[in-house]
């Protein structure tokens, strides 16, 4: 199934405001197209729920994320923005309302958009605007011993301030239903590479419900962005949001900043970004395939798919100097060109990967035991996927035809549209197939990139300051789904507000629906099938520093350390 990219001139650009005006009347305070693809609507605080209802039910908008901003120094109280995407029209819709300083509450939109659950809780935790009528207003993101009434993303809170810990605090856990046993998964669990605490409520081995407490790794990268870093430094921090899809975050941030600044990167830079993004997709999906195999005890898949993946890591090291965390993106383009000498190597490596991935696919498609463990496991219906606003392969495996590369074409995806890989079943097997197909499609995109890459510079230098009062919204289709970055200019050589949404943030919220009624044995693979990336979700800097000492090992030495007997 393919879908051609849509132009950015959407009928909703003119119809949307009219519709909103009709529905909201005088509550619609302002409505303008701040970018050709972005509609910014300000409504009165009391009518935000009605506005969201119109957007979702009448315009078919898909919720992305909420961003709370402390606008008190501008005299506007707190700004709460709900971002939506009109996927078929390539349009972003931002519904903003201002909350006066003395009110600190706003109507929750979670009753209308279940997927806004975590978003609003996060907003409450960091900005301190209470979502009224939220079905589950427990603390989400702040540590258990963080004092009440201290909101870290308010602008009068210093980035390095450490409020005194509350003694005797308890995590805000959900009561388990009567007659169930709690099986804890986490905070540290063998099949989860990162800390996250699931409490699975089971009757016998059947899952009744679950509870999640996470964000153990939250280090306030957004806060650093609007208080310490500068525009040009953020790409390198953004890249460290995720250890796997770092380039996605730096690209997404750079695109948002470029939009806000009105800078257009050269075409060649956009091609290079596309190429690197697809290389990242290949290695991420292969990494996932291995982990998924490992979770159900199929270590042969783990070993083989990681072996297949390894040449991609060597390739990115050759291109950027690093296996991961390439450090290539800057606002306005990229720092490193791809030389003609590198191109045959790239082509060979991805062709090899394609061959081997197809071989793996042939091997796993006929494996009845594998099918027994993945078919009808962790089913996510299309309806639930849309309600919870699930993105990426999990959404596409449930038949939701969204892909940021097609819906909001960025980089060179307007020239080289990806194939939309969807499945209908919504089970773990469908998610396997979607990802395998995407690896093969990524190889095609890389080949076309190499064929069509134009000559020219790779960087447009920024001239002058960032204009004040601008908004940049950018999405990038990460391997796990769509990442969203939102920047607001107006800080001192830095964003006034930088909001990041990693794809795992909405996807994790689908877990309770997916595991309800299932066997306990299927919980790890169901969670694994979402390809969760907790560090992304928690915007952590994943740096492994055991000692301050820096030792440089050459490859031969590392190999010698890894295996005493060379083959």
């Amino acid at each position: 199934m393919t879908k051609t990219p849509k132009g950015i001139h959407s009928p909703w650009a003119s119809r949307g405001p009219r519709l909103l005006e009709k529905q909201l009347g005088t509550s619609l305070l302002d409505c303008r197209a701040i970018e050709p693809d972005t509609l910014w609507v300000r409504v009165s605080r009391k009518q935000i729920r009605a506005a969201v209802e119109t957007a979702v039910h009448n315009m078919g908008a898909r919720f992305l994320i909420s961003a709370g901003t402390d606008l008190r120094e501008r005299g506007d109280g707190y700004g709460i923005v709900h971002l939506f995407s009109l996927d078929r029209d390539g349009l972003f819709l931002a519904l903003e309302c201002l909350v006066p300083e003395w009110e600190e509450e706003v109507d929750s939109i979670t009753p209308i958009v279940p997927g806004a659950d975590w978003s609003e809780r996060e907003c409450r935790d960091v900005i301190g605007v209470e979502p009224q009528g939220h079905p589950d207003p427990r603390r989400l993101l702040l540590p258990d011993d963080w004092p009440e009434g201290v909101f870290p993303l308010r602008r009068d809170f210093d980035y390095n301030e450490r409020p005194p810990a509350v003694e005797g605090s308890r995590p805000p856990l959900k009561e388990h239903p009567a007659g169930t046993t709690v099986i804890p998964m986490g905070p540290f669990f063998p099949s989860l590479e990162e800390p996250s605490y699931w409490r699975i409520f089971v009757e016998g081995e059947t899952v009744v419900d679950c509870d999640y407490r996470g964000f153990y790794n939250h280090r306030g990268i957004e806060k650093l962005g609007d208080s310490v870093l500068s525009w040009d430094r953020i790409p390198y921090v953004a890249e460290r949001i995720c250890g796997i899809c770092g380039f996605i975050h730096s690209t997404c941030y750079c695109q948002a900043a470029e939009k806000a600044a009105g800078v257009h990167p050269p075409r060649r830079a956009e091609y290079i970004r596309t190429l690197m993004l697809e290389l990242e997709r290949i290695h991420s999906h292969l990494l996932w395939l291995g982990i998924a195999g490992h979770i159900i005890g199929f270590d042969t898949i783990l070993m083989q798919s990681w072996r297949i993946r390894e040449p991609i890591m060597w390739l990115t090291e050759e291109i950027s100097g690093n296996r991961k965390t390439y450090g290539m993106n800057v606002v306005g383009g990229v720092r490193r060109d791809i030389t003609p000498a590198q191109m045959p190597g790239i082509r060979d490596a991805v062709t090899k990967v394609e061959e081997e991935v197809l071989a793996v696919k042939r091997a796993i498609v006929g494996d009845t035991t594998l099918l027994a463990r993945t078919r009808d496991v962790g089913i996510l219906s299309r309806k639930s996927a849309q309600d919870i606003c699930v993105v990426g392969p999990p959404a596409r495996a449930s038949g939701v035809p969204i892909d940021a590369r097609l819906d909001h074409p960025y980089a060179a995806y307007d020239d080289i549209p990806p194939t939309l890989c969807t499945q209908g079943a919504g089970d773990t097997w469908a998610r396997v197939l979607v990802r395998v197909d995407e690896v093969v499609d990524a190889v095609r995109i890389i080949r076309e990139c190499l064929d069509r890459i134009p000559d020219g510079p790779v960087l447009t230098e920024m001239a002058g300051e960032y204009p004040d009062g601008r908004i940049g919204i950018s999405v990038v289709e990460a391997p796990r789904g769509e990442a969203v970055h939102f920047v607001m200019t107006g800080g001192v050589n830095r964003p006034y507000r930088w909001r990041v949404r990693a794809p795992t943030f909405p996807n994790l919220q689908a877990m309770p629906v997916m595991i309800r009624g299932q066997n306990l044995a299927d919980v790890p693979i169901t969670l694994g099938s979402l390809d969760p990336c907790f560090s992304c979700t928690e915007r952590v800097e994943a740096v492994d520093v055991r000692t301050g000492k820096v030792t440089l090992y050459r490859k031969a030495e590392l190999e010698a350390m890894a295996r005493r007997h060379r083959p």
């Binding site: 463990r373 306990l520 790890p524």
Partner: protein, 304 residues
């Protein structure tokens, strides 16, 4: 006196094989697994080193119950007792003391001790693992029982030595082949290999019954599992694939060892190309195997 000495030395031989050879066999299997994984793999002596390391560690326990304390040792002891009831190269040393009925009971003992360890350790993971172990045991035991009863029917004796002698002399029969296949399928679960390592399931329940076990206790439980897979493989090859038979204990033993390795490599191969089943899927599988193995029984009754 001579008979007693012979029995004793045979018993020492069988126990010694089960105890000392099983880590080496496990090491070879690990190497093979690594080969399929495109890995180097650990040296084949690694299991010995694992045992040495674990045995040298502090003995930590989550319960003071004396039975819980003794369970790992009892578990290993039960497998060693099983080894004396299984023919290895010649008739089983303690064949006079126990027939296949005793063997079936003794074979289940190590799993029962493991379940007791699980329930005694007080961890929810161990609890789930223990109940899974129980479910697997309950569905695999019938398969083992049916296979052995077929042997007993054919040879007209309940002794493993007699079954071995009868099968070696009277050549393969349809019912014995079918029973052997059933026992081979059961071996996969008895050895704790994929797709049936469900009670341990590292990625789901963190090793299940073993989750709270460390140091010497873990060493003994591991050793139990390795010894068990070797002894069961011996049971399979000696009773159901006893040919060729030279009559020289040493040569027969070497031949049996060779066959044991072939069988275990087969088991390891299945292990390496399969993901883990859910427990109810595994139970369904073994119930089907048990019912199919009834066919072997039927053939045995009509003399085929």
């Amino acid at each position: 006196m001579n008979a007693l000495l012979g029995t004793l030395s045979l018993a020492v031989l069988n126990v010694g094989l089960a105890l000392l050879l099983s880590p080496l066999v496990e090491g070879v299997l690990r190497k093979g697994k690594a080969f399929i994984h495109s890995r180097q793999g650990p040296p084949i002596t690694q299991p010995y080193l694992d045992l040495l390391k674990l045995l040298g560690k502090e003995d930590l326990r989550t319960s003071r119950d004396p039975f819980y304390r003794a369970a790992p040792a009892l578990s290993l002891a039960s497998v060693l007792l099983l080894a004396t009831l299984v023919p290895m190269g010649t008739a089983p040393p303690l064949g006079f003391a126990g027939d296949i009925v005793v063997l079936i009971y003794v074979a289940a003992m190590s799993a029962v001790f493991l379940i007791l360890v699980a329930y005694g350790s007080g961890s929810p993971y161990a609890f789930v693992g223990g109940s899974r172990e129980m479910m697997i045991l309950l569905t695999v035991e019938p398969v083992v029982a049916v296979a052995l009863v077929v042997g007993a029917l054919k040879s007209g004796s309940l002794g493993t030595g007699e079954i071995l002698a009868w099968n070696a002399a009277n050549g393969p029969t349809l019912s014995m082949v079918l029973a052997g296949i059933a026992l081979l399928l059961a071996l996969q679960a008895q050895a704790g290999k994929l797709p049936f390592d469900i009670p341990e399931a590292d990625q789901e329940i963190m090793g299940g019954p073993l989750v709270e076990q460390s140091g010497p206790r873990l060493a003994l439980l591991r050793w139990t599992l390795w010894a068990k897979q070797l002894v069961f493989a011996f049971l399979l090859v000696e009773l159901f694939i006893p040919w060729p038979r030279t009559g020289w204990v040493g040569i027969d033993l070497l031949l049996a060892l060779g066959k044991v390795m072939v069988v275990l490599v087969l088991v390891a191969l299945v292990d390496v190309v399969n993901p883990r089943l859910r427990v109810e899927q595994a139970m369904g599988y073994y119930l089907r195997v048990a019912f199919s193995s009834l066919a072997a029984l039927a053939f045995a009754v009509i003399g085929m």
